[in-house]
Amino acid sequence: MTERITRLNTMATQLRRDVVNCIYHAGDGHPGPCMSIIDILTALYFDVMRLDSNDPKWNKRDRFILSKGHACPALYAALARKGYINPAELKTLRALGSRLQGHPVPKDTPGVEATSGSLGHGLSQGCGMAIAARRRGDDCLVFVLTGDGELNEGIIWEAAMTIPKYKLTNLIAIIDNNGIQSGGKVDVISNLYPLREKWEGFGWYVVDLDGHNMKEITLALEKAAKRGRASREEREGMEIVSNQAPPLPDQPIIFIASTIKGKGIPYMEGNNAWHKRVPTDEEHQIAMEILGGLDLE
Protein backbone atom coordinates (compact mmCIF):
# COMPACT_ATOMS: atom_id res chain seq x y z
CA MET A 1 0.00 0.00 0.00
CA THR A 2 1.35 3.41 -0.87
CA GLU A 3 1.92 6.02 1.78
CA ARG A 4 -0.91 8.11 0.35
CA ILE A 5 -3.44 5.29 0.72
CA THR A 6 -2.24 4.58 4.27
CA ARG A 7 -2.65 8.26 5.12
CA LEU A 8 -6.18 8.30 3.70
CA ASN A 9 -7.13 5.14 5.57
CA THR A 10 -5.85 6.69 8.80
CA MET A 11 -8.00 9.76 8.10
CA ALA A 12 -11.03 7.53 7.46
CA THR A 13 -10.50 5.90 10.86
CA GLN A 14 -10.26 9.35 12.43
CA LEU A 15 -13.56 10.38 10.83
CA ARG A 16 -15.20 7.20 12.12
CA ARG A 17 -13.98 8.06 15.62
CA ASP A 18 -15.27 11.62 15.21
CA VAL A 19 -18.70 10.37 14.12
CA VAL A 20 -19.02 8.07 17.12
CA ASN A 21 -17.91 10.86 19.45
CA CYS A 22 -20.15 13.40 17.79
CA ILE A 23 -23.28 11.23 18.08
CA TYR A 24 -22.33 10.04 21.59
CA HIS A 25 -21.96 13.63 22.83
CA ALA A 26 -25.07 14.87 21.00
CA GLY A 27 -27.10 11.92 22.26
CA ASP A 28 -28.74 11.61 18.85
CA GLY A 29 -27.94 10.78 15.24
CA HIS A 30 -27.53 8.09 12.58
CA PRO A 31 -24.19 6.25 12.98
CA GLY A 32 -24.79 3.31 10.59
CA PRO A 33 -25.49 5.47 7.53
CA CYS A 34 -22.38 7.56 8.34
CA MET A 35 -20.00 4.62 8.48
CA SER A 36 -20.84 3.32 5.01
CA ILE A 37 -19.84 6.61 3.34
CA ILE A 38 -16.73 7.48 5.36
CA ASP A 39 -14.18 5.98 2.96
CA ILE A 40 -15.75 7.72 -0.04
CA LEU A 41 -15.97 11.02 1.86
CA THR A 42 -12.33 10.71 2.89
CA ALA A 43 -11.26 10.10 -0.70
CA LEU A 44 -13.25 13.12 -1.86
CA TYR A 45 -12.25 15.61 0.82
CA PHE A 46 -8.63 14.54 1.32
CA ASP A 47 -7.65 13.47 -2.18
CA VAL A 48 -9.99 14.14 -5.09
CA MET A 49 -11.76 17.46 -4.57
CA ARG A 50 -10.20 20.84 -5.26
CA LEU A 51 -10.85 22.81 -2.07
CA ASP A 52 -9.54 25.67 0.01
CA SER A 53 -10.88 25.54 3.56
CA ASN A 54 -9.59 29.08 4.12
CA ASP A 55 -11.86 30.29 1.36
CA PRO A 56 -15.06 28.21 1.60
CA LYS A 57 -16.80 30.31 -1.08
CA TRP A 58 -13.92 30.15 -3.59
CA ASN A 59 -15.62 30.12 -7.00
CA LYS A 60 -13.48 27.38 -8.49
CA ARG A 61 -13.87 24.94 -5.61
CA ASP A 62 -15.46 21.58 -6.20
CA ARG A 63 -18.90 21.18 -4.64
CA PHE A 64 -20.10 18.25 -2.60
CA ILE A 65 -23.75 17.48 -1.87
CA LEU A 66 -24.64 14.88 0.72
CA SER A 67 -28.05 13.92 -0.60
CA LYS A 68 -28.52 11.41 2.24
CA GLY A 69 -28.46 14.27 4.74
CA HIS A 70 -29.04 12.08 7.79
CA ALA A 71 -25.39 10.98 7.47
CA CYS A 72 -24.28 14.57 8.13
CA PRO A 73 -22.13 13.75 11.19
CA ALA A 74 -19.77 12.15 8.66
CA LEU A 75 -19.83 15.30 6.52
CA TYR A 76 -19.34 17.54 9.56
CA ALA A 77 -16.40 15.37 10.66
CA ALA A 78 -14.79 15.66 7.22
CA LEU A 79 -15.29 19.44 7.28
CA ALA A 80 -13.77 19.58 10.77
CA ARG A 81 -10.65 17.58 9.88
CA LYS A 82 -10.30 19.54 6.63
CA GLY A 83 -10.22 22.77 8.64
CA TYR A 84 -13.61 24.33 7.88
CA ILE A 85 -14.78 24.08 11.48
CA ASN A 86 -13.18 23.29 14.80
CA PRO A 87 -13.42 19.57 15.69
CA ALA A 88 -14.68 20.56 19.16
CA GLU A 89 -17.76 22.04 17.48
CA LEU A 90 -18.82 18.50 16.51
CA LYS A 91 -20.06 18.12 20.08
CA THR A 92 -22.75 20.73 19.35
CA LEU A 93 -24.46 18.50 16.78
CA ARG A 94 -28.25 18.98 16.91
CA ALA A 95 -28.05 21.47 19.80
CA LEU A 96 -30.15 24.62 19.90
CA GLY A 97 -28.49 27.32 17.80
CA SER A 98 -25.69 25.05 16.56
CA ARG A 99 -24.28 25.49 13.06
CA LEU A 100 -24.39 21.70 12.88
CA GLN A 101 -28.13 21.27 12.46
CA GLY A 102 -29.75 17.82 12.59
CA HIS A 103 -29.65 17.85 8.80
CA PRO A 104 -27.41 20.17 6.73
CA VAL A 105 -28.36 23.60 5.44
CA PRO A 106 -26.00 25.97 3.59
CA LYS A 107 -26.70 29.03 5.69
CA ASP A 108 -23.79 29.56 8.03
CA THR A 109 -21.96 26.23 8.14
CA PRO A 110 -18.79 26.72 6.09
CA GLY A 111 -18.37 23.96 3.54
CA VAL A 112 -22.01 22.87 3.46
CA GLU A 113 -23.14 23.49 -0.12
CA ALA A 114 -26.80 22.42 -0.21
CA THR A 115 -29.78 21.62 1.99
CA SER A 116 -30.42 17.92 2.46
CA GLY A 117 -32.19 15.49 4.74
CA SER A 118 -35.49 15.34 2.98
CA LEU A 119 -34.36 12.54 0.70
CA GLY A 120 -33.93 12.57 -3.04
CA HIS A 121 -32.91 16.16 -3.64
CA GLY A 122 -29.14 16.07 -4.14
CA LEU A 123 -29.13 15.30 -7.84
CA SER A 124 -31.59 18.06 -8.74
CA GLN A 125 -29.71 20.68 -6.75
CA GLY A 126 -26.46 19.38 -8.19
CA CYS A 127 -27.99 19.67 -11.66
CA GLY A 128 -28.67 23.38 -11.10
CA MET A 129 -25.18 23.90 -9.65
CA ALA A 130 -23.51 22.08 -12.54
CA ILE A 131 -25.47 24.12 -15.10
CA ALA A 132 -24.39 27.28 -13.29
CA ALA A 133 -20.72 26.19 -13.28
CA ARG A 134 -20.94 25.53 -17.03
CA ARG A 135 -22.40 28.97 -17.57
CA ARG A 136 -19.54 30.56 -15.65
CA GLY A 137 -17.03 28.53 -17.63
CA ASP A 138 -15.47 27.14 -14.43
CA ASP A 139 -13.98 23.65 -14.52
CA CYS A 140 -15.18 22.91 -10.99
CA LEU A 141 -17.04 19.68 -10.31
CA VAL A 142 -20.23 18.84 -8.44
CA PHE A 143 -20.13 15.56 -6.51
CA VAL A 144 -23.45 14.16 -5.33
CA LEU A 145 -23.57 11.27 -2.88
CA THR A 146 -26.95 9.57 -2.56
CA GLY A 147 -28.13 6.68 -0.48
CA ASP A 148 -29.61 3.62 -2.12
CA GLY A 149 -32.85 3.76 -0.14
CA GLU A 150 -33.47 7.32 -1.27
CA LEU A 151 -33.55 6.14 -4.88
CA ASN A 152 -37.17 5.24 -4.06
CA GLU A 153 -37.94 8.96 -4.44
CA GLY A 154 -39.47 9.98 -7.77
CA ILE A 155 -37.48 13.20 -7.97
CA ILE A 156 -34.29 11.13 -8.28
CA TRP A 157 -35.52 9.78 -11.60
CA GLU A 158 -36.65 13.23 -12.72
CA ALA A 159 -33.07 14.40 -12.21
CA ALA A 160 -31.77 11.18 -13.76
CA MET A 161 -33.45 12.33 -16.98
CA THR A 162 -32.38 15.98 -16.83
CA ILE A 163 -28.66 15.54 -16.06
CA PRO A 164 -27.84 13.46 -19.17
CA LYS A 165 -30.08 15.78 -21.23
CA TYR A 166 -27.80 18.69 -20.31
CA LYS A 167 -24.68 16.51 -20.75
CA LEU A 168 -23.50 17.47 -17.28
CA THR A 169 -20.22 15.60 -17.27
CA ASN A 170 -19.08 18.03 -14.56
CA LEU A 171 -21.50 16.31 -12.16
CA ILE A 172 -20.29 13.03 -10.66
CA ALA A 173 -22.83 10.94 -8.78
CA ILE A 174 -22.10 8.20 -6.26
CA ILE A 175 -24.63 5.78 -4.79
CA ASP A 176 -23.87 4.49 -1.30
CA ASN A 177 -25.26 1.02 -1.97
CA ASN A 178 -25.20 -0.37 1.55
CA GLY A 179 -28.33 -2.39 0.83
CA ILE A 180 -30.31 -1.38 3.90
CA GLN A 181 -32.68 1.53 4.39
CA SER A 182 -34.51 2.72 7.49
CA GLY A 183 -37.12 -0.04 7.45
CA GLY A 184 -35.08 -2.95 6.13
CA LYS A 185 -33.41 -4.31 3.01
CA VAL A 186 -33.69 -2.11 -0.07
CA ASP A 187 -34.79 -4.98 -2.30
CA VAL A 188 -37.60 -5.87 0.11
CA ILE A 189 -38.88 -2.33 0.75
CA SER A 190 -39.23 -1.55 -2.95
CA ASN A 191 -38.11 -2.87 -6.32
CA LEU A 192 -34.73 -1.10 -6.46
CA TYR A 193 -32.62 -3.61 -8.34
CA PRO A 194 -31.20 -3.93 -10.92
CA LEU A 195 -29.54 -0.57 -10.40
CA ARG A 196 -27.01 -0.63 -13.24
CA GLU A 197 -29.59 -1.23 -15.94
CA LYS A 198 -31.88 1.45 -14.57
CA TRP A 199 -29.20 4.14 -14.71
CA GLU A 200 -27.87 2.95 -18.05
CA GLY A 201 -31.40 3.16 -19.38
CA PHE A 202 -31.50 6.81 -18.36
CA GLY A 203 -28.28 7.51 -20.27
CA TRP A 204 -25.67 7.36 -17.51
CA TYR A 205 -22.29 5.66 -17.55
CA VAL A 206 -22.35 3.28 -14.60
CA VAL A 207 -19.26 2.15 -12.70
CA ASP A 208 -19.23 -0.42 -9.90
CA LEU A 209 -16.97 0.38 -7.02
CA ASP A 210 -15.86 -1.22 -3.75
CA GLY A 211 -16.83 1.63 -1.44
CA HIS A 212 -14.36 0.55 1.24
CA ASN A 213 -11.27 0.00 -0.90
CA MET A 214 -9.40 3.31 -0.71
CA LYS A 215 -7.08 2.52 -3.59
CA GLU A 216 -9.94 1.59 -5.88
CA ILE A 217 -12.07 4.57 -4.80
CA THR A 218 -9.33 7.16 -5.29
CA LEU A 219 -8.22 5.73 -8.61
CA ALA A 220 -11.74 5.75 -10.05
CA LEU A 221 -12.79 9.11 -8.63
CA GLU A 222 -9.55 10.78 -9.73
CA LYS A 223 -10.13 9.57 -13.27
CA ALA A 224 -13.74 10.73 -13.18
CA ALA A 225 -12.63 14.13 -11.86
CA LYS A 226 -9.99 14.50 -14.55
CA ARG A 227 -12.58 13.66 -17.16
CA GLY A 228 -15.05 16.09 -15.55
CA ARG A 229 -12.60 18.96 -16.00
CA ALA A 230 -11.60 17.95 -19.53
CA SER A 231 -12.90 19.42 -22.79
CA ARG A 232 -15.32 17.40 -24.90
CA GLU A 233 -12.51 16.54 -27.28
CA GLU A 234 -10.30 15.30 -24.46
CA ARG A 235 -13.14 13.24 -23.01
CA GLU A 236 -13.36 11.18 -26.18
CA GLY A 237 -12.25 7.65 -25.28
CA MET A 238 -11.20 8.56 -21.72
CA GLU A 239 -11.26 5.40 -19.65
CA ILE A 240 -12.55 5.25 -16.06
CA VAL A 241 -12.03 1.57 -15.25
CA SER A 242 -10.01 -0.95 -17.21
CA ASN A 243 -12.68 -3.64 -17.37
CA GLN A 244 -15.26 -1.46 -19.10
CA ALA A 245 -15.46 0.43 -22.39
CA PRO A 246 -15.02 4.19 -21.80
CA PRO A 247 -18.05 6.46 -21.46
CA LEU A 248 -19.36 8.41 -24.43
CA PRO A 249 -18.00 11.96 -24.26
CA ASP A 250 -21.30 13.51 -23.13
CA GLN A 251 -22.34 10.86 -20.62
CA PRO A 252 -22.48 11.73 -16.92
CA ILE A 253 -20.95 9.14 -14.60
CA ILE A 254 -22.59 7.44 -11.64
CA PHE A 255 -20.71 5.12 -9.31
CA ILE A 256 -22.52 2.31 -7.56
CA ALA A 257 -20.42 1.85 -4.46
CA SER A 258 -20.87 -1.43 -2.61
CA THR A 259 -20.69 -0.55 1.05
CA ILE A 260 -21.52 -1.95 4.46
CA LYS A 261 -23.81 -0.07 6.79
CA GLY A 262 -21.93 0.53 10.04
CA LYS A 263 -18.56 -0.31 8.40
CA GLY A 264 -15.55 -0.17 10.70
CA ILE A 265 -17.26 -0.92 13.99
CA PRO A 266 -17.96 -4.66 14.27
CA TYR A 267 -21.07 -4.40 16.42
CA MET A 268 -22.63 -1.94 13.94
CA GLU A 269 -21.73 -3.66 10.67
CA GLY A 270 -24.80 -4.80 8.77
CA ASN A 271 -26.96 -4.34 11.89
CA ASN A 272 -29.78 -1.96 11.05
CA ALA A 273 -30.48 -1.27 14.73
CA TRP A 274 -27.66 1.25 14.18
CA HIS A 275 -29.56 3.16 11.50
CA LYS A 276 -30.38 5.59 14.26
CA ARG A 277 -29.03 4.83 17.72
CA VAL A 278 -26.68 6.33 20.27
CA PRO A 279 -23.82 4.22 21.63
CA THR A 280 -24.00 3.42 25.34
CA ASP A 281 -20.96 4.31 27.47
CA GLU A 282 -19.68 0.78 27.03
CA GLU A 283 -20.28 0.70 23.28
CA HIS A 284 -18.61 4.08 22.98
CA GLN A 285 -15.61 2.77 24.88
CA ILE A 286 -15.33 -0.27 22.60
CA ALA A 287 -15.45 1.94 19.52
CA MET A 288 -12.73 4.20 20.90
CA GLU A 289 -10.48 1.20 21.50
CA ILE A 290 -11.02 -0.12 17.96
CA LEU A 291 -10.58 3.19 16.21
CA GLY A 292 -7.74 5.11 17.85
CA GLY A 293 -6.98 8.65 16.70
CA LEU A 294 -7.75 12.07 18.16
CA ASP A 295 -10.64 13.16 20.36
CA LEU A 296 -12.83 16.21 19.83
CA GLU A 297 -10.71 19.01 21.27
Partner: protein, 308 residues
Protein backbone atom coordinates in the same frame (compact mmCIF):
# COMPACT_ATOMS: atom_id res chain seq x y z
CA UNK B 1 -43.72 36.15 -18.65
CA UNK B 2 -43.48 39.74 -19.79
CA UNK B 3 -40.75 41.62 -18.02
CA UNK B 4 -38.36 38.69 -17.99
CA UNK B 5 -36.54 39.80 -21.13
CA UNK B 6 -36.26 43.33 -19.76
CA UNK B 7 -34.57 41.81 -16.72
CA UNK B 8 -32.41 39.42 -18.74
CA UNK B 9 -31.13 42.26 -20.90
CA UNK B 10 -29.66 44.01 -17.89
CA UNK B 11 -28.74 41.08 -15.67
CA UNK B 12 -27.07 37.92 -16.93
CA UNK B 13 -27.99 36.05 -13.73
CA UNK B 14 -31.64 35.84 -14.83
CA UNK B 15 -32.69 32.29 -15.83
CA UNK B 16 -36.00 30.67 -16.73
CA UNK B 17 -36.78 27.18 -15.39
CA UNK B 18 -39.76 25.41 -16.93
CA UNK B 19 -41.57 22.14 -16.36
CA UNK B 20 -42.82 21.85 -19.94
CA UNK B 21 -44.56 25.13 -19.19
CA UNK B 22 -42.95 27.34 -21.82
CA UNK B 23 -46.12 27.72 -23.89
CA UNK B 24 -48.35 28.16 -20.85
CA UNK B 25 -46.02 30.91 -19.63
CA UNK B 26 -45.89 32.49 -23.10
CA UNK B 27 -42.14 32.63 -22.81
CA UNK B 28 -41.12 31.35 -26.26
CA UNK B 29 -39.85 34.81 -27.24
CA UNK B 30 -37.60 34.87 -24.19
CA UNK B 31 -36.14 31.50 -25.11
CA UNK B 32 -35.53 32.55 -28.71
CA UNK B 33 -33.67 35.57 -27.44
CA UNK B 34 -31.83 33.84 -24.59
CA UNK B 35 -31.64 30.10 -25.36
CA UNK B 36 -28.85 29.51 -22.85
CA UNK B 37 -30.87 31.07 -20.02
CA UNK B 38 -33.59 28.46 -20.28
CA UNK B 39 -33.59 25.21 -18.31
CA UNK B 40 -36.28 22.73 -19.32
CA UNK B 41 -36.64 19.78 -16.98
CA UNK B 42 -39.84 18.35 -18.42
CA UNK B 43 -43.08 17.73 -16.56
CA UNK B 44 -41.27 17.44 -13.25
CA UNK B 45 -42.05 20.34 -10.93
CA UNK B 46 -40.21 18.97 -7.90
CA UNK B 47 -37.09 18.66 -10.01
CA UNK B 48 -37.67 22.15 -11.41
CA UNK B 49 -37.86 23.63 -7.90
CA UNK B 50 -34.77 21.80 -6.60
CA UNK B 51 -32.81 22.56 -9.80
CA UNK B 52 -33.77 26.22 -9.34
CA UNK B 53 -32.38 25.97 -5.81
CA UNK B 54 -29.11 24.68 -7.26
CA UNK B 55 -28.92 27.57 -9.72
CA UNK B 56 -29.63 30.06 -6.94
CA UNK B 57 -27.00 28.50 -4.65
CA UNK B 58 -24.51 29.44 -7.37
CA UNK B 59 -25.71 33.05 -7.46
CA UNK B 60 -28.06 32.94 -10.46
CA UNK B 61 -31.64 34.27 -10.29
CA UNK B 62 -33.94 31.55 -11.63
CA UNK B 63 -37.60 32.20 -12.41
CA UNK B 64 -39.42 28.89 -11.98
CA UNK B 65 -42.58 29.33 -13.98
CA UNK B 66 -45.55 27.05 -14.44
CA UNK B 67 -49.10 26.58 -13.18
CA UNK B 68 -49.71 28.01 -9.70
CA UNK B 69 -50.81 24.72 -8.20
CA UNK B 70 -48.03 22.62 -9.66
CA UNK B 71 -45.57 25.04 -8.07
CA UNK B 72 -47.25 25.39 -4.70
CA UNK B 73 -48.66 21.90 -4.27
CA UNK B 74 -46.62 19.44 -6.35
CA UNK B 75 -43.37 21.15 -5.38
CA UNK B 76 -44.48 22.48 -2.00
CA UNK B 77 -41.86 20.68 0.06
CA UNK B 78 -39.08 21.53 -2.37
CA UNK B 79 -40.03 25.20 -2.06
CA UNK B 80 -40.23 25.05 1.71
CA UNK B 81 -37.10 23.04 2.49
CA UNK B 82 -34.77 23.72 -0.42
CA UNK B 83 -35.69 27.30 -1.42
CA UNK B 84 -37.32 29.09 1.52
CA UNK B 85 -35.32 27.51 4.37
CA UNK B 86 -31.90 28.48 2.94
CA UNK B 87 -33.55 31.74 1.77
CA UNK B 88 -32.46 31.34 -1.83
CA UNK B 89 -33.03 33.86 -4.54
CA UNK B 90 -35.58 31.83 -6.50
CA UNK B 91 -38.56 33.56 -8.08
CA UNK B 92 -41.69 31.54 -8.74
CA UNK B 93 -44.38 32.61 -11.19
CA UNK B 94 -47.65 30.68 -11.10
CA UNK B 95 -50.35 31.01 -13.74
CA UNK B 96 -54.00 29.99 -13.39
CA UNK B 97 -54.14 31.43 -9.89
CA UNK B 98 -57.81 31.49 -8.87
CA UNK B 99 -60.93 29.84 -10.25
CA UNK B 100 -61.47 32.49 -12.93
CA UNK B 101 -58.04 31.98 -14.47
CA UNK B 102 -58.41 28.21 -14.50
CA UNK B 103 -61.84 28.61 -16.07
CA UNK B 104 -62.78 25.85 -18.53
CA UNK B 105 -60.07 23.45 -17.34
CA UNK B 106 -61.78 22.57 -14.09
CA UNK B 107 -60.38 22.02 -10.60
CA UNK B 108 -57.18 20.27 -11.71
CA UNK B 109 -56.09 23.58 -13.27
CA UNK B 110 -57.87 26.07 -11.01
CA UNK B 111 -55.66 26.96 -8.08
CA UNK B 112 -57.23 28.71 -5.12
CA UNK B 113 -55.06 27.43 -2.27
CA UNK B 114 -51.65 28.70 -3.47
CA UNK B 115 -51.49 31.82 -1.33
CA UNK B 116 -52.70 30.07 1.81
CA UNK B 117 -50.09 27.36 1.37
CA UNK B 118 -47.16 29.70 0.78
CA UNK B 119 -48.22 32.15 3.47
CA UNK B 120 -47.38 29.56 6.14
CA UNK B 121 -43.80 29.24 4.86
CA UNK B 122 -41.23 31.69 6.23
CA UNK B 123 -39.06 33.92 3.99
CA UNK B 124 -41.40 33.97 0.96
CA UNK B 125 -42.70 37.24 -0.47
CA UNK B 126 -46.12 36.85 -2.14
CA UNK B 127 -47.19 39.24 -4.90
CA UNK B 128 -50.62 39.26 -6.55
CA UNK B 129 -50.56 41.69 -9.49
CA UNK B 130 -53.95 42.71 -10.88
CA UNK B 131 -53.48 42.53 -14.64
CA UNK B 132 -50.95 41.75 -17.38
CA UNK B 133 -49.04 45.02 -17.23
CA UNK B 134 -48.93 44.90 -13.44
CA UNK B 135 -47.66 41.32 -13.73
CA UNK B 136 -44.87 42.54 -16.00
CA UNK B 137 -43.92 45.11 -13.38
CA UNK B 138 -44.24 42.62 -10.52
CA UNK B 139 -41.86 40.30 -12.38
CA UNK B 140 -39.30 43.09 -12.65
CA UNK B 141 -39.86 44.06 -9.00
CA UNK B 142 -39.45 40.43 -7.87
CA UNK B 143 -35.91 40.28 -9.23
CA UNK B 144 -35.00 43.16 -6.95
CA UNK B 145 -36.46 41.59 -3.80
CA UNK B 146 -33.88 39.40 -2.04
CA UNK B 147 -34.92 35.81 -1.31
CA UNK B 148 -37.81 33.73 -2.63
CA UNK B 149 -40.73 35.52 -4.25
CA UNK B 150 -43.99 34.05 -5.53
CA UNK B 151 -45.88 35.96 -8.23
CA UNK B 152 -49.46 34.83 -8.59
CA UNK B 153 -50.64 35.23 -12.14
CA UNK B 154 -54.02 34.82 -13.82
CA UNK B 155 -54.87 33.50 -17.25
CA UNK B 156 -53.25 36.29 -19.24
CA UNK B 157 -56.75 37.22 -20.44
CA UNK B 158 -57.65 38.97 -17.20
CA UNK B 159 -59.45 42.35 -17.34
CA UNK B 160 -57.19 45.37 -17.44
CA UNK B 161 -57.43 47.30 -14.17
CA UNK B 162 -54.68 49.87 -14.30
CA UNK B 163 -53.40 52.12 -17.05
CA UNK B 164 -50.24 50.85 -18.64
CA UNK B 165 -47.10 51.71 -16.65
CA UNK B 166 -49.04 52.54 -13.49
CA UNK B 167 -46.47 51.95 -10.79
CA UNK B 168 -46.38 48.61 -8.94
CA UNK B 169 -44.77 49.29 -5.58
CA UNK B 170 -44.26 46.09 -3.57
CA UNK B 171 -44.91 45.88 0.18
CA UNK B 172 -47.20 48.93 0.41
CA UNK B 173 -50.96 48.88 0.10
CA UNK B 174 -52.33 50.84 -2.84
CA UNK B 175 -55.21 53.11 -1.87
CA UNK B 176 -57.12 53.29 -5.17
CA UNK B 177 -60.12 55.35 -4.05
CA UNK B 178 -61.07 57.24 -0.95
CA UNK B 179 -64.66 58.41 -1.21
CA UNK B 180 -65.33 58.22 2.49
CA UNK B 181 -64.78 56.02 5.51
CA UNK B 182 -67.97 54.00 6.04
CA UNK B 183 -66.34 50.84 4.70
CA UNK B 184 -62.92 49.66 3.57
CA UNK B 185 -62.77 47.31 0.59
CA UNK B 186 -59.52 45.31 0.46
CA UNK B 187 -58.83 43.18 -2.58
CA UNK B 188 -56.45 42.03 -5.26
CA UNK B 189 -56.12 40.29 -8.59
CA UNK B 190 -59.05 39.54 -10.80
CA UNK B 191 -61.58 40.77 -8.23
CA UNK B 192 -60.40 44.38 -8.38
CA UNK B 193 -62.69 45.35 -11.31
CA UNK B 194 -65.61 43.98 -9.31
CA UNK B 195 -64.57 45.96 -6.25
CA UNK B 196 -64.42 49.11 -8.36
CA UNK B 197 -67.98 48.47 -9.58
CA UNK B 198 -69.19 47.69 -6.06
CA UNK B 199 -67.56 50.86 -4.80
CA UNK B 200 -69.51 52.88 -7.38
CA UNK B 201 -72.81 51.27 -6.36
CA UNK B 202 -72.11 51.87 -2.67
CA UNK B 203 -71.12 55.49 -3.33
CA UNK B 204 -74.35 55.98 -5.26
CA UNK B 205 -76.19 54.79 -2.16
CA UNK B 206 -74.36 57.42 -0.14
CA UNK B 207 -71.90 55.01 1.45
CA UNK B 208 -68.33 56.30 1.72
CA UNK B 209 -65.79 53.74 0.46
CA UNK B 210 -62.04 53.41 0.84
CA UNK B 211 -60.86 50.99 -1.85
CA UNK B 212 -57.49 49.39 -1.22
CA UNK B 213 -55.46 47.07 -3.43
CA UNK B 214 -53.33 44.65 -1.39
CA UNK B 215 -51.04 43.16 -4.02
CA UNK B 216 -48.38 42.14 -1.49
CA UNK B 217 -50.01 39.50 0.68
CA UNK B 218 -46.75 38.71 2.47
CA UNK B 219 -45.17 40.56 4.12
CA UNK B 220 -48.40 42.39 4.75
CA UNK B 221 -48.41 46.19 5.10
CA UNK B 222 -49.73 45.92 8.64
CA UNK B 223 -49.26 49.60 9.40
CA UNK B 224 -51.09 50.73 6.27
CA UNK B 225 -53.92 48.25 6.74
CA UNK B 226 -54.37 49.07 10.43
CA UNK B 227 -54.61 52.74 9.56
CA UNK B 228 -57.41 52.06 7.06
CA UNK B 229 -59.20 49.80 9.57
CA UNK B 230 -59.08 52.54 12.20
CA UNK B 231 -60.38 55.06 9.74
CA UNK B 232 -63.27 52.97 8.38
CA UNK B 233 -64.18 50.71 11.31
CA UNK B 234 -65.49 47.95 8.98
CA UNK B 235 -64.11 46.08 6.01
CA UNK B 236 -64.67 43.63 3.19
CA UNK B 237 -61.90 41.50 1.75
CA UNK B 238 -62.15 40.08 -1.77
CA UNK B 239 -59.91 37.60 -3.55
CA UNK B 240 -60.17 34.78 -6.05
CA UNK B 241 -58.92 32.23 -3.50
CA UNK B 242 -60.36 30.03 -0.80
CA UNK B 243 -61.63 32.30 1.98
CA UNK B 244 -59.38 30.22 4.26
CA UNK B 245 -55.71 31.16 4.25
CA UNK B 246 -55.50 33.99 1.75
CA UNK B 247 -55.86 37.76 1.86
CA UNK B 248 -59.06 37.64 3.94
CA UNK B 249 -57.40 35.54 6.61
CA UNK B 250 -54.31 37.76 6.58
CA UNK B 251 -56.34 40.93 7.07
CA UNK B 252 -58.49 39.35 9.78
CA UNK B 253 -55.32 38.31 11.63
CA UNK B 254 -54.01 41.83 11.36
CA UNK B 255 -57.32 43.30 12.52
CA UNK B 256 -57.68 40.91 15.44
CA UNK B 257 -54.21 41.74 16.71
CA UNK B 258 -54.20 45.47 16.02
CA UNK B 259 -57.66 46.93 15.60
CA UNK B 260 -60.61 44.53 15.58
CA UNK B 261 -63.50 45.67 13.39
CA UNK B 262 -66.30 43.75 11.63
CA UNK B 263 -64.93 42.13 8.48
CA UNK B 264 -66.74 40.15 5.77
CA UNK B 265 -64.81 37.92 3.40
CA UNK B 266 -65.49 37.44 -0.31
CA UNK B 267 -63.84 34.43 -1.91
CA UNK B 268 -64.39 30.80 -2.75
CA UNK B 269 -66.29 29.44 0.24
CA UNK B 270 -64.17 26.37 0.98
CA UNK B 271 -65.50 24.17 -1.79
CA UNK B 272 -64.40 22.77 -5.15
CA UNK B 273 -65.72 24.78 -8.09
CA UNK B 274 -66.89 23.71 -11.53
CA UNK B 275 -65.48 24.42 -14.99
CA UNK B 276 -66.95 27.49 -16.59
CA UNK B 277 -66.37 30.92 -18.01
CA UNK B 278 -64.43 33.31 -15.77
CA UNK B 279 -67.14 35.86 -15.03
CA UNK B 280 -69.83 33.22 -14.80
CA UNK B 281 -67.69 31.32 -12.26
CA UNK B 282 -66.99 34.33 -10.08
CA UNK B 283 -70.71 35.22 -10.05
CA UNK B 284 -71.81 31.67 -9.30
CA UNK B 285 -69.32 31.19 -6.46
CA UNK B 286 -70.46 34.30 -4.55
CA UNK B 287 -67.83 36.73 -5.77
CA UNK B 288 -70.25 38.92 -7.77
CA UNK B 289 -70.44 42.70 -7.55
CA UNK B 290 -73.72 42.25 -5.72
CA UNK B 291 -72.12 39.86 -3.23
CA UNK B 292 -69.49 42.51 -2.48
CA UNK B 293 -72.14 45.22 -2.05
CA UNK B 294 -74.13 43.01 0.32
CA UNK B 295 -71.03 42.09 2.30
CA UNK B 296 -70.19 45.79 2.68
CA UNK B 297 -73.68 46.59 3.90
CA UNK B 298 -73.53 43.71 6.35
CA UNK B 299 -70.18 44.83 7.74
CA UNK B 300 -71.49 48.39 8.14
CA UNK B 301 -74.61 47.10 9.95
CA UNK B 302 -72.39 45.08 12.28
CA UNK B 303 -70.21 48.15 12.89
CA UNK B 304 -73.24 50.31 13.70
CA UNK B 305 -74.76 47.68 16.02
CA UNK B 306 -71.46 47.41 17.92
CA UNK B 307 -71.47 51.16 18.42
CA UNK B 308 -74.86 50.99 20.18
Amino acid sequence: MQGLDTLAEKDDRIMLVCADSLLAMRATDFVQKYPDRYVEVGIAEQNAAATSAGLAIEGLIPFFATYAGFITMRACEQIRTFIAYPNLNVKMAGVNGGIAAGEREGVTHQFFEDIGILRTIANITILVPADADQARQATIAAAGIPGPVYIRLGSGRDPVVFEKNSPFIPFKINIMQKNGNDIALFGNGVLLPRLIKASKILSDKGIGVTLVEVHTVKPLDIEGITKVLKDCGAAVTAEDHNIIGGLGSAIMETAAENYPVPIERIGLRDKFPSSGLPDELLDYYEMSVNDIVKAAQKAITRKNSTKK
